[in-house]
C-alpha cells in the first residue's frame, strides 16, 4: 500500500522542489529529474513483474493499470533523457512540470475512486497548460485554447462522475457497472467519453494538438500529446467501456463513428500540411481513431488491438516527434520546403525516423502493422453478431492507413532524401548529442522489437492479462511469415552488399543535359500533395475546415460571443435601465408568490 504513496508522491514532491530551484542549477535539476524518472521506471518495471496486492478502496492495481503505468514510466524516462540538450530556458519549471505530470499520471491510473482520479486529471491539465506556455509568448494563444478544451471537458468529467454517483451510489471503479438504459446514464457516458476524447485528441476535441504543435517545445509535444495523453485518454476510455458501462449498441456505434471520422478526417488534413510538426500532430489525432474504433468494436481482439495500438502509437509518435526535434535543433527549421537531403548528414536519425514512419504506416514487421491487424480482425469479428457497420469502419480505417503512408512518404522524401535546400548548405549539420540519439534509437528499436516478438512479448505479457478473451493461437500464426520476412531481409542485405556495396564502382552526379544540379531544381515533394488540396470534392472540405467550422472551440466561441454581444448591448450603464430591471424583478417575484 505504501508503495502507491511513494509512486505518486515522490515525483510530485521532487517536481515541486525543482520548481523552487534556481534556473542556473540546470545540471542539478536535470540530474534530479533523471534520477526520479529512472527510479520510477525501475520500480514500475519491478512491480510489473510482481504485481502488488493492495487493499480495496481508494486505489486499484489491475492489469490495465499495469500496462499504462509501464508506459508512463518509460516515456517519462525517455523524454527526460532527451531533454538534456533540448531545454535551455527555464529548466526548473520544465523538469518540475515534467515530474509533476508523471506523478499525476501515475495517480490517474492508480485511482479507484473517481473523484481522486478527476483531481489528478485536473493537475494534468494544469501542467499541460504550463508546459505549453514554456514555448514563449507565441505559445500563449494555443495554450489558452488547449486549456479551455481540456479543462472544459474536465468539468464534464466531474458532471459525469456526479451522475454516476447519483445512479449507483458509489464512486469506485470496481463497484460501478451499469446498463445504459436511461438518458441520465447515457449523459454520464457521453460526459466521461468527452473527457477521454479531449485528452487523447479524438475528434471533435482534437484541435488543440495541431494548434500547439508548432509553438510548444517539441519534447513537450513528444511527451504529452504524443504519448502520455494518449495513454491516459485511452486508459480512461477503456475503463469507461470495459468497467463502468455495459455494452450498448447505439453508444458503441457512436464511438466507432467518431473513431472512424477521426481516422479519415485527420489524415486528410495531415496530407496537406507543410510543417513537419503540424503534420505529425494531425497524425497524432488520426491514430487515436484506430484505438477508439478498436475499443468500440466490443470484442476481445479489437479491444486488445486498441490497447496495443495505444502503446505502439506512443512509441512511434514519441520517436517521430523527438526526431523532428532533433532535425529542428540541427537545422533550425521544421518547414518541409526548407529541408532536404538530411539522410546523408543524419544517418541514425534518418534510420530511426524511417522505422517509426514504417510503424505508423502499418508496414510489417513493425509494431503498427500488428496492432492495426488486430483492430481489423476485431472489426471483422464484431460482424459475426449480425451488425454490418464494421464494413464501413474497416474501409475507413484502411483508407486512413494508406493515406498515412502517403503523408509519411512526403516527410521522408522532403526531409531526408533529395538534395538539400539553399539555406542548409551553409550549415554544418551533424548528428545531435548522444542524449538526444539514445531515446530515438531506443524507441525505433522498440518499434521493431514489438513487431518481431509480437506474440511473445506484447500479446502474452501485456494484452492477454487485460483481455482474457484473446487466444494467440486463434488469431493468426505469425512465426512463418516473420521467419520468411527476416530471411528475405537478410537475403536482400546479402545481395545488396555483394552486388552494390562490394563491387567496384564509379560514383557520378546525374547528367542533366550538362546542367549542374542546383538548389533551385530541388523538388521538396510537398508540391505533389497540392493536387489533393485542389481535387474537386476535397477542396470544399478543406475550405470548410479552414474556415474553422470543424473546430469545436471556434464554433462554440462564436456562439458564446453572439450571446455576449447581446447581453453587452443590454448593459447600457444607465442607472435608469438597471432600476427598470429591479422593478421588473420585484414584479416577477411577486407574481411567482401570488400565483403559487
Amino acid at each position: 500500500m505504501e508503495i502507491i504513496y511513494y509512486l505518486i508522491g515522490l515525483p510530485i514532491i521532487m517536481g515541486l522542489l525543482c520548481l523552487l530551484l534556481s534556473n542556473r542549477a540546470r545540471i542539478l535539476i536535470w540530474g534530479i529529474a533523471l534520477d526520479v524518472c529512472l527510479i520510477m521506471f525501475g520500480v514500475i518495471l519491478f512491480l510489473f513483474a510482481k504485481k502488488p496486492t493492495i487493499p480495496e478502496g481508494l486505489f486499484i492495481w489491475d492489469n490495465l493499470t499495469n500496462l499504462t503505468l509501464l508506459g508512463i514510466g518509460f516515456f517519462g524516462f525517455v523524454v527526460c533523457v532527451y531533454s538534456y540538450k533540448m531545454i535551455d530556458e527555464c529548466p526548473g519549471r520544465y523538469y518540475g512540470y515534467l515530474l509533476i505530470t508523471i506523478g499525476a499520471a501515475i495517480g490517474v491510473v492508480l485511482s479507484n475512486n473517481l473523484i481522486l482520479m478527476s483531481v489528478y486529471w485536473g493537475i494534468l491539465a494544469i501542467t499541460l497548460y504550463l508546459m505549453i506556455n514554456l514555448g514563449g509568448p507565441l505559445a500563449a494563444y494555443p495554450a489558452k485554447k488547449t486549456f479551455i478544451i481540456v479543462g472544459g471537458t474536465d468539468s464534464f468529467l466531474i458532471l459525469g462522475i456526479a451522475i454516476l454517483w447519483a445512479l449507483t451510489g458509489s464512486l469506485n471503479i470496481t463497484d460501478i457497472r451499469i446498463e445504459i438504459d436511461r438518458w441520465l446514464a447515457a449523459a454520464s457516458f457521453l460526459c466521461l467519453v468527452s473527457a477521454a476524447f479531449a485528452k487523447a485528441g479524438a475528434m471533435p476535441f482534437h484541435t488543440w494538438i495541431p494548434e500547439i504543435s508548432e509553438k510548444a517545445p517539441v519534447s513537450v509535444m513528444a511527451f504529452l500529446p504524443a504519448s502520455l495523453d494518449k495513454l491516459l485518454g485511452i486508459y480512461l476510455l477503456a475503463r469507461i467501456c470495459l468497467n463502468l458501462f455495459i455494452y450498448h449498441e447505439t453508444m458503441w456505434f457512436l464511438l466507432s463513428l467518431m473513431g472512424a471520422i477521426t481516422i479519415v478526417g485527420a489524415v486528410f488534413l495531415a496530407l496537406i500540411q507543410h510543417n513537419m510538426k503540424r503534420l505529425l500532430a494531425y497524425h497524432a489525432v488520426s491514430q487515436v481513431g484506430y484505438m477508439v474504433v478498436g475499443i468500440a468494436s466490443g470484442n476481445p481482439i479489437g479491444i486488445a488491438g486498441g490497447l496495443f495500438h495505444m502503446l505502439n502509437h506512443a512509441i512511434y509518435k514519441c520517436c517521430l516527434f523527438l526526431g523532428a526535434g532533433s532535425i529542428e535543433k540541427t537545422t533550425g527549421t521544421s518547414e518541409l520546403e526548407n529541408l532536404g537531403g538530411l539522410g546523408r548528414n543524419l544517418p541514425l536519425t534518418f534510420t530511426c525516423f524511417l522505422f517509426a514512419s514504417f510503424a505508423i504506416s502499418g508496414i510489417p514487421p513493425f509494431n503498427g502493422f500488428f496492432s492495426k491487424w488486430m483492430i481489423y480482425q476485431g472489426l471483422v469479428d464484431s460482424g459475426k453478431t449480425g451488425d454490418q457497420s464494421w464494413i464501413l469502419w474497416i474501409v475507413m480505417a484502411m483508407i486512413g492507413s494508406g493515406l498515412t503512408l502517403a503523408s509519411f512518404m512526403k516527410i521522408i522524401h522532403s526531409t531526408f532524401l533529395g538534395i538539400s535546400s539553399e539555406n542548409l548548405k551553409t550549415k554544418d549539420i551533424r548528428e545531435v548529442h548522444f542524449t538526444m540519439l539514445i531515446p530515438l534509437l531506443l524507441l525505433a528499436g522498440l518499434c521493431l522489437f514489438f513487431g518481431i516478438f509480437f506474440i511473445s512479448i506484447p500479446v502474452l505479457k501485456f494484452l492477454l492479462p487485460i483481455v482474457p478473451g484473446i487466444y494467440p493461437e486463434n488469431m493468426f500464426n505469425l512465426n512463418l511469415p516473420i521467419l520468411l520476412l527476416v530471411l528475405g531481409f537478410v537475403l536482400g542485405l546479402f545481395f545488396y552488399y555483394t552486388t552494390i556495396v562490394m563491387r567496384k564502382k564509379r560514383i557520378v552526379t546525374p547528367f542533366i543535359g550538362g546542367e549542374k544540379i542546383s538548389s533551385e531544381m530541388k523538388l521538396s515533394g510537398t508540391g505533389f500533395y497540392n493536387q489533393i488540396r485542389n481535387t474537386a470534392f476535397l477542396n470544399k472540405m478543406y475550405d470548410f475546415s479552414e474556415r474553422k467550422f470543424t473546430d469545436i472551440y471556434e464554433v462554440l466561441k462564436s456562439t458564446v460571443n453572439y450571446f455576449t454581444k447581446g447581453f453587452m448591448v443590454a448593459h447600457t450603464g444607465i442607472v435608469g435601465t438597471y432600476l427598470t430591471w429591479m422593478i421588473f424583478g420585484i414584479l416577477v417575484f411577486l407574481y411567482i408568490y401570488i400565483r403559487w
Binding site: W165, F589, I592
Partner: protein, 497 residues
C-alpha cells in the same frame, strides 16, 4: 469569548480614533487597521464552534437587542475579517501611491468592517438595517475615493441602486413590524411559524421586498446593475473588500439567514434561488467574457460566483449547503486575491486594459503565480479550492434530482475557465494587440506588504481543499446544523425551550 459586541465596538472605536490621533502619529492609520482586523480575525477564530447568544444590557430577547453567534455567523465572521485583514495590509503601499488621505481611507474601511460584523451578528431586524446603512455609506465613500469623474459615476450608481434596495428593505421591515409588533428576528420567525404566516398577503409582500432588497445587495441577476461600475472605479483593495466581505455578508448572508432561519425554506423559494442563481452564473460569466478591463471582468465574475452560492442554497440539501458555504469561503479567498492582482498590475504599469498589457509573467513573478493559482481556483481546477466547492455543488444538484442545474453550473465553470485563460494570456504569458514594449520599462515586482498578502491568499487558495479532509461534517458541520435546523433551531437558540 461571550462578549460579541467587541466585534462591533472595537473597529468602530478605532475608526473614530484614527482621525483624532493620526495628526500626530503618521504611522497610526497604516498600523491600526491591520492590527484591528488581525485582532478581530483571531477573535473570530477563537469563537469557531462556539455558539452563544449575547444580550445587550442583559435585556431578554424580544425586548432587547441580541447578538447571535451560531455556526453560520462564526464562519462568516472569520471570512470577513480575514478578507479585511489582507486588504488592510495590501492597502499600505497601494493607497500611498494612488490616493491621498490615508486616515480617511482606513477609518472608512473600519466602518465598513463594523457594519459588516454587526449585520452578521445581530438578531434584530432594525439593528441589521442600521449596520447595513453604516456599511453602505462608508463603502459608498470608498468606492468614489479617487474623486475622478469615473470614480464618482461608479459610486453614484452604487449609491442609487443600493439606496433603493435599502428603502425596499426598510419598507419590508416596517410592514413586518406593523404585522407582528416585533423586530426581533427569532420572534418574527416564531410568529410566522405559529400563524401560518406565509399565506398572509402582508407577510408575503414584506418578504418579497426583503428578498429583492438583499438580492440587490448580493448582486443577483437582474439586480446586478451596480456591480460592474462600482468594482471598477473602487480602489483595488476596496473592490476586494466589497466582493469578499460586503456583498457576502450584507447580501448573501442575510438572504440565506432570512430564507432558512426566519421564514423557512419552501419549494417556491428554492426554485427562485436556483433559477436566479443559474441566471447569475450564466449572464455574469457571459458578460465577463466580453470585457477588456481587468477589474470589470473580475466584477462580472463576482456576479457569476455569487450565482453558484445562491444556486447551492437553492438546492438546499445538506451537501449543497456545505458546497454553498464552502464556496462563500473560497470565493472570499480567490476573488479578493484576483482584485489584488489586478491592483498590483495597475500599481506597476498603470494599466487596466487587457489589450495593452502583456509579458508580465517574467517581470512580476509573484503576481503572475498568485494570479495563476487564483485563476485555477475560480475556474474549478483541482486541487485548488474552487474545485472542491463546485464539485460539491454539482454533485448535490445531481443528487437532488436536478441534473440540468448541474449542467448549467458546469457550463458556467467552463466559460469561467475561458475568461481566466484570456486574462493569463493577455496579461502574463502573451500580450494584447495594443501592447507596446515601452510599457514594460521600469516594471518590477510590487512592494513587500502587497506581495505578502497575495502570497498568503494564494497559499490559502491552494490548501483550502484540505478543510474537507475531516469529512463534510468537520469544519462545516455547525453551519449545516444551523441552517438545516430551520427556524425552529434558531428560535430555540434565542428563547430556549
Amino acid at each position: 469569548m461571550d462578549n460579541l459586541s467587541l466585534f462591533i465596538s472595537i473597529p468602530a472605536a478605532v475608526a473614530f480614533f484614527i482621525p483624532v490621533v493620526s495628526r500626530r502619529l503618521r504611522w497610526f492609520p497604516d498600523v491600526s487597521a491591520s492590527v484591528t482586523s488581525f485582532f478581530l480575525l483571531m477573535l473570530s477564530l477563537m469563537t469557531l464552534n462556539h455558539e452563544t447568544v449575547y444580550k445587550m444590557g442583559d435585556w431578554p430577547a424580544p425586548y432587547g437587542v441580541v447578538f447571535v453567534l451560531d455556526g453560520f455567523s462564526c464562519m462568516m465572521l472569520v471570512i470577513v475579517n480575514l478578507v479585511v485583514f489582507f486588504t488592510a495590509i495590501y492597502s499600505v503601499d497601494y493607497i500611498e501611491k494612488f490616493y491621498t488621505s490615508k486616515l480617511r481611507y482606513y477609518s472608512l474601511l473600519l466602518l465598513v468592517l463594523t457594519g459588516v460584523n454587526g449585520v452578521i451578528l445581530t438578531g434584530d431586524l432594525f439593528n441589521l438595517f442600521i449596520f447595513l446603512e453604516l456599511s453602505l455609506v462608508a463603502s459608498f465613500a470608498l468606492v468614489g475615493f479617487g474623486c475622478s469623474a469615473r470614480d464618482l459615476e461608479g459610486s453614484f450608481k452604487y449609491l442609487v441602486i443600493n439606496l433603493l434596495a435599502s428603502y425596499l428593505i426598510f419598507m419590508g421591515i416596517a410592514l413586518l413590524y406593523g404585522k407582528f409588533a416585533s423586530l426581533n428576528m427569532a420572534d418574527i420567525a416564531r410568529m410566522v411559524a405559529n400563524s401560518d404566516g406565509m399565506s398572509d398577503q402582508v407577510v408575503v409582500f414584506a418578504f418579497v421586498l426583503l428578498l429583492v432588497g438583499f438580492a440587490t445587495k448580493s448582486a443577483i441577476v437582474p439586480f446586478h446593475g451596480w456591480v460592474a461600475d462600482a468594482y471598477t472605479s473602487a480602489p483595488a483593495p476596496i473592490s476586494a473588500v466589497l466582493t469578499g466581505a460586503a456583498v457576502k455578508s450584507l447580501g448573501v448572508y442575510v438572504l440565506i439567514r432570512l430564507a432558512y432561519n426566519i421564514f423557512g425554506m419552501n419549494s417556491i423559494l428554492s426554485t427562485i434561488f436556483a433559477y436566479s442563481g443559474v441566471a447569475s452564473i450564466i449572464i455574469g460569466v457571459l458578460m465577463a467574457l466580453g470585457q477588456w478591463n481587468f477589474k470589470r471582468l473580475l466584477a462580472y465574475h463576482s456576479i457569476s460566483q455569487i450565482g453558484y452560492i445562491i444556486l447551492a442554497f437553492g438546492i438546499g440539501t445538506p451537501l449543497a449547503i456545505v458546497g454553498g458555504i464552502f464556496h462563500i469561503l473560497n470565493h472570499s479567498l480567490f476573488k479578493p486575491l484576483l482584485f489584488l492582482n489586478a491592483g498590483s498590475v495597475e500599481y506597476e504599469t498603470g494599466e487596466r486594459n487587457l489589450a495593452r498589457l502583456g509579458h508580465l509573467s517574467k517581470k512580476m513573478p509573484v503576481t503572475a503565480i498568485s494570479s495563476l493559482i487564483a485563476s485555477f481556483s475560480i475556474s474549478g481546477i483541482p486541487p485548488f479550492n474552487g474545485f472542491w466547492s463546485k464539485l460539491l455543488i454539482i454533485v448535490a444538484a445531481v443528487q437532488a434530482g436536478r441534473p440540468l442545474l448541474a449542467l448549467w453550473a458546469v457550463i458556467g465553470s467552463i466559460l469561467t475557465l475561458a475568461s481566466f485563460a484570456k486574462i493569463q494570456k493577455y496579461v502574463f504569458f502573451g500580450s494584447g494587440e495594443r501592447f507596446k514594449e515601452k510599457m514594460l520599462s521600469g516594471v518590477g515586482e510590487v512592494p513587500f506588504l502587497m506581495r505578502i498578502s497575495m502570497i498568503v491568499l494564494a497559499i490559502f487558495c491552494s490548501l483550502a481543499g484540505l478543510l474537507l479532509v475531516g469529512g463534510l461534517n468537520g469544519i462545516f458541520g455547525p453551519v449545516v446544523n444551523a441552517l438545516a435546523g430551520g427556524p425552529e433551531l434558531y428560535i430555540t437558540r434565542i428563547f430556549g425551550k
